[in-house]
Amino acid sequence: MYVAGSIGDATYLNPLLATDSASGDINNLVYNGLVKYDRDLKLTGDLAESWTVSPDGCTIRFKLKPNVRWHDGVPFTADDVKFTYDKLIDPAVRTPFGSDFQLVKNVRVIDPLTVEVTYKEVFAPALESWGMGIIPKHIYEKGDFNSHPANRAPIGTGPFMFKEWKTDEKIILDANPDYFDGKPFLKRYIYRIIPDQSVQFLELRNQSIDEMILTPDQWYAYPEFFRHYNKFRYPSFSYTYVAFNLTMFPFSDLRFRQAVAHAVNKNEIINGVLRGMGKPATGPFPPQSWAYDPSVTHYDYAPEKSRALLAAMGFADTNKDGFLELNGKAFTFTIISNQGNKIRSLAAEIIQSQLKAIGIRTQVRVIEWSAFIHQFIDKRAFEAAIMAWSLSRDPDQFPIWHSSQTGEGQYNFIAYKNPEVDRLLEIGRRTFDMNVRQQTYHRIHRILASDLPYLFLYYPEALPVVHKRIRGPEVTAAGLGWNFPKWWVPEGQRKYEFEP
């Protein structure tokens, strides 16, 4: 038996409707997609045994694994895949995940174990998008999808079967004895909701939970806290950055962005806010991604270069107050960040003091999340903002960088426009050729690193701990939990004994 601690409770145990990480944790154990990422972040079959992409790249044919059964014993077939797709594009279904499937022309069931997806154009992230959990047709075809009882008592194909959900207390899953990939070794999985981080930490110390994600401060707590735990650290799939509003002077001037980049000491930020648990970022892909180009460098910390660049732009301290003026007029800008994220507001303060050292006066303003997004970011009413992106494993970042994505509510909110990047983004998502894609994304990485639409700050690390009696956890490019069904506890160290 294995007990995981979580800050929040799940919302929908239905992969089409769930958007929070707690629901995601459970859905990943209960449902399978057609494909998944293996230990080395390569796409491999999950419910699909294999797949072939047609020569024109527009059609993917999935061959499904035979003898897969839903938790209630009904066989899994291609009809379930088609049904899942139909629900994803059904306008009455409250799913936010339809976007990836807009380019699908049709999904055809060839035979019970073969399904063929045709796209209007070649779309490389399509393969990854079929990692979406497949839901059972025979359960969901009756009744209202959005408020279906199965959203709270899911029936999937995954390694663990749903047993019980006590709202805001715990979710219990049991091992699926008929799992197609072999029965998981842990008999039961309990997801305990402990909304306060410090209390969760006390529970860890008491050994009442087996897994927890630490904050950098907790990582450095007294060793007695971790006597019974193995600590892991690995880069998470995200990066934190300073976004510049490129429609506004002086942010539209590359020299100004370079001056800021030379003035910011990323290592000082990482040591200050993450206690060293991160790496300086050079671009929009994390180091464990195949899209990351290790040879790309970032602007080094060199305040004297900043001063030279600023002087060339006309900045000078004309009134001798220690701060620079632009053509004789006082100059200042505001860095905004969102409330409830201490790490970001601290980073903003460190940047503030680093910019002060080169004579740039800044304010830091922390704003409630929805106002932050809707009144400042979406309306492009900001100068600089500290934010972070959580990334999908596929490096396609078309929505973030393409010049067609600058409308309100779209994700190129800094209004970055670079025809070459546009072209590369289009190439990257329109081919399945891994060599071409890798070169394309390496090129994008290099351009963005020198163009500085964002000042890429750091890649934070994930810091989980797992109880020592659990064997099998291993950190790879895919992170930690990729082989969770194969985790086990040696005889004699079992903590909980029960008859399911």
């Binding site: 958007t19 009455a92 936010p96 976007s99 408020s147 019980e164 805001d168 306060d196 209390v199 009442s208």
Partner: protein, 323 residues
Amino acid sequence: MTSYLIRRIIAMVPVLIGITLMTFGVMQLAPGKPTDVMTDMNAKVSAESKARIVKLYGLDRPWYVQYGSWLKRFVKLDFGDSFRDGRPAIKKIAERLPATISLNILSLLLILALALPIGIYSALKKDSWFDRGMTVFVFAGFSMPTFWLALLLMILFGLKLGILPISGLHSLNYSELTVIGKILDTGKHLILPVFISAFTGLAGLSRYSRSSMLEVIRQDYIRMAYAKGLTRNRVIFRHALKNALLPVVTILGLSLPALIGGGFIFETIFAYPGIGRLGYEAVMSRDYPVVMAVGTIAAILTLAGNLLADVMYALVDPRIRYK
């Protein structure tokens, strides 16, 4: 009395509608929409998807239309479905009520059992060491941050001594326990929360009963009772106490809504599945139906509590009669 009651109840309707209108208005003024949590800054969710979801939840309509349709459903006692997980709001509240009510009743009983004796004895021994000590004690409880005290006690009883569970309402093996085992298990989990919420809530009631007792024992009829030669105990318990407890009745009536209201910080610290957390999370995720349901039920209970206090007053105090 009956006509008074009817008048009072009728007068509550506009007040209640006013409260719901204000709750609704405040939620609308708060920046952001319920759908933001699921769609904001998720590069996989396109702007069209966002707009479609907003429409599915009916959030594209003007606020007065939304309020109108809420009111129409409310008249039929339908609070609508949560935006967060699609379940009926009333059901989400109902499943948390037992935990919240049992905690609040237990702590209210403990408060009564401690605060009344403290207040009365302090009044009788005014300015004594006991009185001063208790003043410091109850105000210390009143001013102490709950989360801090809770963490310290968790460390002491949960980690160092290992005699009480740290958080939660049940142990993991709860469903396999016998009935007695279940009661003991829940009891163990309740000790710290009940103790802490009682300790931090002592001040109000004990100070009220102290000051009301102080006032009563200065009255002529108390002097009269002493003059008749009654014993001190008889004067205090038969003549003074009854009158001194009158204001306490009001406070009890007003604590009716507090029975279902929970402290959000408190429940978060103890991982306690109560109403406070539900309400707070609903506000944070702009889950309008749940916010409205919690708000409306709290409003109804507050109004009912007020009425109850007034009625009880008339029942226990012969000087008060409503027409």
